[in-house]
Symmetry: D3
Subunit: 271 residues, 6 copies
């Protein structure tokens, strides 16, 4: 069960409206790595989890916080849109180049569709979608997805920080940056369920490795012509899964011939 309290985790109030930045801020609300994604992603991972206890508690505990981040951003965006201009764009541009740029660069659906309100879309107006979520049932894989989500998310917030000098907005961003720092650290640490024996590399570790074509498991095969990759630590030495040694092949082996063209039922009317 979810409960709501009419408070925000951190102050979320801009110094002044800014419809252009409102559009940009949509990215971390409704984009691929925005707060809707992590809120629902941690939820689905929890609902689908097979391990009771601290990992499921962790997912539930953070997932609800992220729903509050969705709310903080939506409330901030609505305030940034409070003075959204509504006049004709070309006339506005004639009268005032700055206003012209605002009208030209804002999210027009903020005005037409939402009447100066936030939306479940990214900064280019693409609707958020369920395929942004990863919840595979394997926690080592999923925690890696979570770490990535928090990295991409913090990267985007850091970029947004420089696209405004509004103190109120930067105050909120500095809070979100801190929480992303926490969540990056936490998912990286949580991935240490390896240490507890729940999972290991390569994921999934309990697939019988003898059924894998082991000759190809640790070989770097270079399908381009840059020689630099041979210098990487991925080209020699022991592998992170502790089960092999990297080797390097400068160009692919000869392959097997392309199979002959297929001949399906003539009533498919191919040629």
């Amino acid at each position: 069960m979810y409960f709501h309290r009419q408070e925000l985790q951190h102050k979320s109030k801009p110094s002044k409206p800014d419809a252009l930045f409102a559009r940009r801020l949509q990215e971390v609300l409704g984009g691929q790595y925005g707060e809707i994604t992590v809120a629902l992603q941690y939820g689905f991972q929890a609902w689908n989890s097979h391990l009771p206890g601290k990992y499921r508690d962790l997912l539930f505990g953070i997932g609800a916080e992220e729903m509050g981040h969705v709310e903080m951003l939506a409330v901030m965006i609505a305030q940034l849109l409070e003075k959204t201009p509504i006049q004709g764009a070309e006339d506005a541009a004639k009268a005032d180049p700055v206003l012209g740029a605002v009208i030209g660069g804002m999210d027009v659906q903020h005005a037409i569709v939402a009447g100066a309100g936030a939306r479940a879309v990214d900064s280019n107006g693409n609707p958020w979608q369920g395929s942004y979520i990863t919840a595979s049932g394997n926690l080592l894989a999923d925690f890696t997805a979570n770490a990535n989500a928090e990295m991409q998310g913090r990267l985007q917030v850091a970029r947004l920080y420089h696209m405004t000098d509004d103190h109120g907005v930067r105050d909120l961003l500095s809070f979100l940056l801190a929480r992303d720092t926490m969540h990056q650290n936490q998912w990286i640490r949580a991935a240490e369920l390896r240490a507890e024996g729940h999972e290991d590399l390569p994921v999934p570790s309990n697939f019988p490795i003898s059924k894998e074509y082991r000759e190809a498991s640790y070989e770097y095969i270079n399908f381009s012509d840059g020689a630099g990759a041979a210098e990487g630590t991925w080209a020699s030495g022991p592998t992170p899964d502790g089960k092999g040694e990297f080797s390097y092949r400068a160009e692919p082996n000869k392959g097997v011939p392309m199979p002959p063209a297929t001949q399906p039922d003539s009533r498919f009317y191919g040629t």
Copy 2:
């Protein structure tokens, strides 16, 4: 520049056609974590890269291999579809329950749209989309995304392995499993660009950390009511970024009041 050779990296030939499995195999061709995703993802990361040398060479070197995996799967799917039945489903079911199940469970667009050919879709027929790709310009974030992609991908291939007992198909899957093992190991190792000082935690590490709201950077705040998360290594001790100590807060602090409702221009005709 890309070049093509009419060979496959590994044998890709089923023992017998199987339209039901052809549909399932689409997941690792055209799904969120399928081969089209990694082929183009590594490409975009390379084209957008800012670090010359071994990392870019690595991205180019693997990206082209993945295009060959797209091809191996497409060729396998076309062969699995070679005997796709075309008759009426209900009549087929009356005559032969097995055939009825096949017709009921196959991807109907394999027959109607592609005439017994592979498609750029997942196992539920959703078209592949560009938003599956992650290429942020920050390699530590992106290599984490890549490690996740190879984990999710190997997990899916391992599941698919049990959904068929066709020796030819399993042979191909065992090869793909091995390459996913290699690629997981490689991206995890490559993420050690931390050791070379290119990037660090939290990503992005060169954002001035003093601009972050540091009080909230290492605190686990529990928004659910499960006490288990307090036992995790993410709730106490030093943090993986080496810059702090985890702490635990059993329930959130009181927040700040919800800002008042916004009052936009009356010509937006809100209520």
Copy 3:
């Protein structure tokens, strides 16, 4: 059968081209609540209808009118785009800030893809999609969807009215506003199929209400902490379906425990 006449229901000619407004106008052509949606929505409701007679006639009668609205808007947009500039945006901005704003704020696909023509997209360039349509087979539900569509649509047209002062465009908008007024009134009135006994509240009314968990049917349960909702007419008094009395619960009852984590087949390789 549909027939076409090379006339428009109302004059549709701008006083002057305006590529910025052309983009905005796409919202009511190809957006979620645009004319393509209602044209096809009323069509599908008619084709799927189970009640012969006046309701189906109504759906057919309005649906074809809406196809004409699609056409009026497409023709208007093409005319607004007639002088779409094609030069380089940055150079244009240097020479003339107004032109710079136009090039920056217009729909770039209007120029690149359609060569100064209308498209089946919304004002942010998202393609129209079939999931905008509601046609459930239950007319009371669907007429409520229709009333909503005409409300959202009229709201958007009213907002657009203030984003231009072109007399020709406003003339067309004033006509569309009037038709939306008609259609709002009509769907609200048509929802009175309740009076004729075809359907009732709660929809669907002929589901055996005894199979519903009646204790929870008329209780407002407050999952937030604002006390205001207790004052609403939805918190006490008789219910609109005539079958109960509203009551108010200030906070949720204790729930039932979360079920234990699931344990699927080990070959799914979960953790």
Copy 4:
């Protein structure tokens, strides 16, 4: 802020696993009118609201309940999937027609992607998307959207009720049916913000009606050839907005001529 408690609002446990029904149940979790839609829709309406007090409290109060419905369904689906078979479909069908039908009719991504877990998709596997949400800033329009959502939702749950005879599942459905009954009644009642003067018909009522082409505001124009629509209460008598009288026109007036073809810049290379 949102908080989570590891309880469910109502018991959610199937009598036995049923992967086929798990797929069907996805519709009311992640479909156009599923629980994700209403949870986020009521959230965005609250965050964007302009009227403080009981209406905003109502939106917050119900929105959080709906997040709990998302959770109940996800947990139910995970349990229905607990015995998801993983073997080859065709072989299964040979051995056991029932198992063959299950494998043929289930959501294959439940197995391959989620490892027997719930997903943010509908019953055909289409990802949930942000464009399902309506939040316009005008509460009379939006409450009509909400009433429709609860009608479509209850209709779908009622249909699903007959697609299973599992007592545990039906118990949950009977609870959801009851809450949908409540929510239908509540939004219809809340739409009585008309009585309090916040809004009126036609929406938006404060657009100056003199700017509308009033001649066309209350006329039924029949663009099809069924005479039945003339008998409706939408073809004569006073209009629901209290501002006019319906009239009926059996076929459209002559229109205005189609404008001439446009002639854009020759560098668009049209023909």
Copy 5:
């Protein structure tokens, strides 16, 4: 303006219901090359057209016919769904394998969402989308798109013909096949606007060909290793545009070096 008549262009009545075929038939209603696509595609081409007269008349004349095809298919699908079963799938499969196959293979949203009605989706349940439409403003390009659409469409109808032996359905399909034959012939013939000097190859022909890198305009460059392509009529002899001679190059020239990695503003926090 569009008008509707409550008649169908051709008889559209199945001999018996068939929910499985109803799903398949959705492809040519709401798929990429279904009737919604051509109806709206010809409409947009007409609304955007720059050439008055016979070409625009042609587009209007056919576009309205296609709207009638949408209707015929929707009505047929609704009839095929008239006896859609609603019981539990697994139980049905136990009682009757044929019924189990039907329930497993049908479009579950036909039942849950549309209540046994047609939908604006393809045979895999993907919603129709505006990006299926091509309307570039250049008629030679667009007529080629139209010819392709009618070819793909007829191919799909021909395949569907063998997936049913219902006389009523086949009767409708035979009519649609005939119209597709007409429309293929017509668009190929209409592409002869080349003969009238409106456009020519290469499209767009009035782009100054001297601005093109003419050395590369007629050379087949082989990026694969199959020698067969050298035998084609595209590898030697005069070109269809009448402006050159085909030549053949067995493998690509050496290219230019990859440009150095980019170095954007450090505040993007790349690596």
Copy 6:
């Protein structure tokens, strides 16, 4: 198998950065008719092909070239974005109208998501999708799709040519124009597999034409009221398929009555 060489087929280097043009250039990289589409389309046609020999060699040979075009455009876009500004948009507009226009008109995700890198999207930020691909298994249909793709693509490049005066960019565009010229000519010539008897009009030609409703196969039926279409060569004379004579009907025949409304199972709760 695919191989990569760290070279470009043609020089791809702008004279100066231009974030506005970078957005526009995305259209021919990741749009409906961009290079990703043709690269994968020719790939799928090859993998699904049924005719061995020169046609398959052709598809493989061109498909790999198109992957190189994807790369050239991505590299060009990354360079155009090298100086992407990151400051606040409104402040920038105040200080410098040109900079304001740039920030307003650029793709904001180029900055926020990709850190000044290329993306797999079109010029309006819509992600590329698998449904852009056509690969039906019938080469005459598919070569027509290919010819159309190269026509639409060249048309877009020609328009883009005028949206920049950067010599480096125009140099690349002139090369792409030339290759599109080649590919248009080639697919039109390749469609002459008719001459070799592999396929003929109407596609698919080997569907037994006697099963088609031949009375309707060559008749132009005018569903609009423009008389001009009667003058076209599609209204009289022999048909391109060599199997009939065009005729003209000024308005449709009377149709058949609309079938009665359907009456599905009452448990679908329709009205």
